[in-house]
């Protein structure tokens, strides 16, 4: 239909999520269109048929009908519940990345998007991804709330300061698509836009190899050493803090008796507020690194810890 008009009225469909979202839209359009037409037709018909005119100066008084009331409460309710289930189904798909997804990091700041590929490529306001491969972006923000939005993929997720969120998508059509910030973030909110470039796998590998610098895991290791984390976090007898190998994704037993999963949020908290979750068998001796390490530095450290093996890989 877009072809008939000189301007677009429907966004490109370029991810595995997009058709699911659009089918839900078409269903909702049909359902609500039917309801609107029904109501509009009835109002129009009644208004004309029962308009005030000679011969119809007195209305026929009717007070109501319980059967009708129950009918037009229950029938819509059933339709709504059906819609709810469908919507929840798409939502669940939209936020559950496949385990083999390509990982990368995204940091929002006033007013740009910074992306970090695991192989070392860094980008600003541009994101290169391969076609037909799930990609998940771990998002955070350096200042205010931003929102990672790619209309062609029907993907949106807020990037929050102090927390990690995740968006994933699998692009289906190579091309260049809009990347927007959807959460109002200050003066140049509308300038916080960029593009997602979807490439054929071979072209992507080539792009990835060109201009690659130090990988985040390598930078994380450098940071780990320069901040002297390794004086305590070590595997030998001198260790005064937990060894980090194979930590990511594992269950951690805390001094307080609680059990946590070592995810990104836990690692971040342990770097910035080490006293919050003290691991069983250790003392609260670690100083906070708040102010000493940037958001991107924290992501590098997390990536370094992940590179030491994750629970899934460590366990035979």
């Amino acid at each position: 239909m877009s072809r008939l008009l000189p301007f677009p009225i429907f966004p490109p469909q370029a991810s595995t999520l997009a058709p699911r979202t659009d089918h839900l839209l078409f269903y909702l359009l049909a359902m609500s269109g039917l309801m609107s037409v029904l109501i509009a037709a009835l109002i129009f018909y009644f208004s004309v048929r029962y308009r005030r005119r000679p011969g119809n100066e007195r209305a026929t008084q009717v007070d109501g009908s319980n059967r009708l009331e129950i009918g037009w409460s229950v029938v819509p309710l059933v339709v709504f519940l059906f819609t709810y289930v469908w919507g929840a189904n798409v939502f669940f798909f939209a936020y559950t990345p496949p385990p083999d997804a390509l990982e990368l990091y995204g940091v929002g700041k006033q007013w740009m998007w910074k992306f970090q590929h695991l192989s070392g490529q860094r980008e600003i306001n541009e994101l290169h991804v391969p076609v037909a491969r799930p990609v998940k972006v771990l998002l955070t923000s350096q200042d205010v709330i931003h929102s990672f939005y790619v209309p062609a993929f029907r993907v949106k997720q807020d990037a929050l300061p102090g927390r990690y969120t995740e968006a994933w998508f699998e692009a289906t059509v190579p091309g260049t698509y809009h990347l927007f910030c959807a959460e109002y973030c200050g003066t140049l909110h509308s300038g916080m836009i960029g593009s997602v470039v979807v490439m054929e796998p071979a072209a992507f590998e080539q792009w990835l190899a060109g201009g690659a610098t130090t990988s985040p895991a390598e930078r994380g290791l450098q940071l780990f050493q320069s901040l002297a984390c390794n004086t305590c976090h070590r595997a030998d007898a001198l260790a005064r803090a937990p060894d980090l190998a194979g930590l990511f994704g594992r269950q951690v037993h805390l001094k307080s008796g609680a059990v946590l999963r070592a995810d990104e949020a836990y690692l971040r908290r342990s770097i910035l507020d080490p006293a919050t979750d003290i691991v069983q068998g250790y003392e609260a001796i670690m100083p906070t690194f708040k102010g000493l390490v940037t958001e991107e530095g924290i992501l590098d450290l997390i990536e370094y810890i992940k590179s030491l093996g994750t629970a899934a890989k460590a366990e035979p």
């Binding site: 936020y95 997720q157 929050l160 927390r163 969120t165 995740e166 995810d263 990104e264």
Partner: protein, 95 residues
């Protein structure tokens, strides 16, 4: 019983419950300490409202108004905590 004698009795009960809640707070009763403290506080509040604020002798709409605030406070806290307390249940950051 009503009037000043009842008020005095309620005052004694309130002071007693205050002592009790302070005492209990020093006992290690694990996860029960917060619910117990809250139950005692609610009992005290109920006594004040029923007797001192004459809710006992009122009916209908005053009860509604008195309960509405607490009921809606419950909605605010319970539904917000339904978000906070279920974060991290799924292994998806931010969900």
């Amino acid at each position: 019983m009503s009037g000043p004698r009842l008020y005095l009795l309620v005052l004694v009960a309130l002071l007693g419950l205050t002592g009790l809640t302070i005492y209990v707070s020093y006992l290690d009763i694990g996860p029960f300490s917060a619910p117990v403290a809250f139950t005692i506080a609610a009992t005290k509040a109920l006594l004040v409202m029923l007797v001192f604020m004459h809710l006992k002798e009122s009916h209908g709409v005053l009860w509604l108004a008195a309960l509405a605030g607490f009921f809606w406070l419950g909605i605010l806290v319970v539904l917000t905590m339904s978000d906070v307390a279920t974060r991290g249940v799924l292994p998806i950051p931010g969900k």
